[in-house]
């Protein structure tokens, strides 16, 4: 008797169980997850993994090729590139995860309300259409040109560019969910709007949003690097991967390793997040899996 109860309790959420199983069977998603976890560990253990202070200047040792002493060489100010790359993982992951979380939360809030409140919908969506017609990097550039460079401002700038896309997605999900019989039933029994949104609509938007979140995370990391690379990103004293590469711009022919080491770490991290996202998408929609 007891075991039956336990089993019933375990299978409360068969969707999530199936999702987890499908994800586990997806080899590329697992590779992505492992690489991503490794990057998170590197970021967390940066102070112990680094061989020297990422900011320590040693001009006498500048532009040294990779060696046993400086694994990834040194930059034009003699800073150890390996230590800077290790610390750079913190910036990229912070920006990626924060932008994803913020834009999902904001997009969800705006999308849920506009999907249900008709008169608000037209106004908000016109505004979102306008924002979406500005290519996201340009939007971020405009914001960064008017504010002081900081990691926080980079996060705000990229989030602002991503929110309209999330709103679009949430709104389209809400518009189809509100036609469902169980929503009609909730309305008929007199459930108030906030409760309908939270109890009946929100849980059904979460799965596609998590997938969208991984893609936002990946593209935010690339956008951060691009912004830093063109001088509109994190302040120059922050050892972000984009900054390390930006500083190497003028001496690429002399020291190409200054670009390739941070570039490889960035690409690998973004690839891992993308692979994880693809795996989750396939797990959520097996019908789509064979196609995209």
């Amino acid at each position: 008797m007891n075991t039956v109860v336990v089993q019933a309790a375990r299978s409360v959420s068969p969707t999530w169980q199936r999702f987890y199983d499908a994800l586990r069977r997806h080899p590329t998603a697992m590779v992505g997850a492992v690489v991503l976890i490794a990057m998170v560990v590197i970021a967390m253990l940066a102070p112990w993994l680094a061989t020297s202070d990422p900011q320590a200047l040693l001009p006498i040792q500048r532009l040294r090729q990779p060696s046993s002493e400086h694994w990834f060489g040194t930059d034009m100010l003699g800073r150890d590139v390996y230590s800077r790359v290790v610390f750079g993982a913190r910036i990229s992951l912070t920006v990626g995860v924060t932008v994803a979380a913020l834009s999902i939360v904001l997009g969800l809030a705006i999308g849920l309300v506009t999907g249900f409140v008709r008169w608000l919908d037209a106004v908000v969506m016109r505004f979102m259409d306008g924002l979406m017609s500005i290519p996201s990097i340009l939007l971020a550039i405009a914001l960064m040109a008017l504010t002081r460079a900081s990691v926080g401002n980079v996060i705000i700038a990229i989030t602002l560019a991503e929110v309209p896309r999330v709103v679009r997605l949430v709104r389209s999900l809400v518009l189809s969910l509100r036609e469902q019989p169980y929503v009609d039933a909730a309305i008929a029994t007199g459930t108030r709007l906030p409760l309908i949104l939270l109890r009946h609509i929100l849980p059904n938007t979460l799965a596609p949003l998590i997938v969208q979140g991984t893609y936002i995370c990946a593209s935010a990391m690339i956008t951060e690097a691009i912004l830093s690379f063109i001088g509109a990103g994190t302040p120059p004293n922050v050892p972000s991967w984009g900054n390390i590469m930006a500083e190497a711009r003028s001496m690429f022919q002399l020291a190409s390793y200054l670009i390739f080491f941070p570039g490889a770490f960035l690409s690998l991290t973004v690839l891992a997040v993308n692979m994880l996202g693809d795996g989750m998408r396939d797990a959520l929609d097996p019908r789509l899996a064979r196609r995209l």
Binding site: R126, F127, D129, G130, L131, S133, I134, P135, S136, I137, L138, L139, I141, A142, L143, M144, A145, L146, T147, R148, A218, I222, A225, I226, F229, I230, G231, A232, M245, R249, F252, Q253, S256, I259, F260, G263, L266, S267, L268, V270, L271, N274, M275, D278, R290, R291, L292
Partner: protein
């Protein structure tokens, strides 16, 4: 059809108005004093005052916005803070390299990506298909400038096949122009190609499962004709849509690509403007690029009837 076009044009106008309003009000919405940020750390109080007057920040919002829109409608994008030259003139000087780069990239990308997507769909599930899909995920993950430096390092520095950097106008001959644009176009076009190839493949798979394709194959038509004439044409709508949406990638990628390859285009102008915090130039570039993006997607919308006669407006 005409009613639809008019309605779409009106919607486009609203979108552009929102863009203009947004880009303009950023000066007021950003926390802190933008004049002080633009002036930089070593500016005196007089410098900041001068910049504030130049940007019109000392007048009420509506007065400024009205004046700005009136000038905008007359084709005046304002004056650069740093060089004191009209923004339209600065942009006009830089148009040719950027147009060359983006158009060449667009052509190469479509010519490569669509056939690749079709082949991947025709051979779905095989090693070729998995290879295409794998490369496309990789392409999404490598930033434009990292790829650009990889290409320079391989083809310009190691093999010495192509010039490292720079730009030659078309008037100096076809090969000098083309040779300076091959690597930038590949770097810029890779993500775009990956996107188009993936959507082409997905759209083709959709169409290939239709009954009329089975009929066409059953009656013994040339498989290639089935793929191109029967399948590809009917997969046209999503493909042309993604080509239009992807123009945003080309525009923002051009800024980075021009920086890496030292191409004196609008992207380079933008990056120089960022370093000098020359906001009027950035404003002008955003309006121009967003306008182009919106118009391209309007054209895409209107072209649907060419691919699918069932779509009537």
């Amino acid at each position: 059809m005409i009613v639809y076009i008019v309605r779409r044009l009106a919607a486009t106008f609203i979108v552009m108005a929102v863009v203009a309003l947004f880009v303009f009000s950023l000066l007021f919405l950003t926390p802190g004093d933008p004049a002080a940020v633009i002036a930089g750390d070593i500016a005196t109080a007089d410098d900041i005052k001068l910049i504030r007057a130049k940007l019109g920040l000392d007048e009420p919002f509506l007065v400024q916005f009205g004046g700005w829109v009136r000038r905008l409608l007359h084709g005046d994008l304002g004056t650069s803070i740093f060089t004191n030259l009209p923004v339209t003139k600065l942009i006009a000087q830089r148009v040719q390299p950027t147009v060359s780069l983006t158009l060449l990239t667009l052509v190469i990308a479509v010519l490569v990506a669509v056939p690749v997507g079709v082949i991947a769909a025709a051979k779905a599930g095989t090693r070729i298909d998995r290879c295409v899909m794998g490369i496309s995920v990789l392409a999404f993950s490598v930033p434009v400038f990292v790829l650009a430096y990889l290409l320079i390092s391989l083809f310009s520095i190691q093999l010495e096949w192509l010039p490292v950097q720079g730009y030659r106008p078309l008037s100096e001959g076809l090969w000098p122009w083309l040779s300076h644009l091959i690597l930038p176009s590949i770097a810029l076009g890779t993500v775009y190609m990956a996107l188009i190839a993936r959507i082409t493949r997905a759209a083709m798979l959709d169409v290939l499962s239709q009954d009329y394709i089975r009929t066409a194959n059953a009656k013994g038509l040339n498989p290639r004709a089935v793929l191109t004439r029967h399948a590809l044409k009917n997969a046209g709508v999503p493909i042309i849509t993604v080509i239009g949406i992807g123009v945003a990638l080309l525009i923002s990628g051009a800024i980075v690509t021009e920086t890496v390859f030292a191409i004196p285009g609008i992207g380079r102008l933008t990056v120089d403007a960022i370093l000098r915090r020359d906001y009027p130039i950035i404003q002008g570039v955003i309006l121009l690029f967003s306008g182009i993006y919106v118009l391209v997607n309007l054209a895409v919308d209107l072209s649907y009837t060419l691919f699918d006669p069932r779509i009537r407006y």
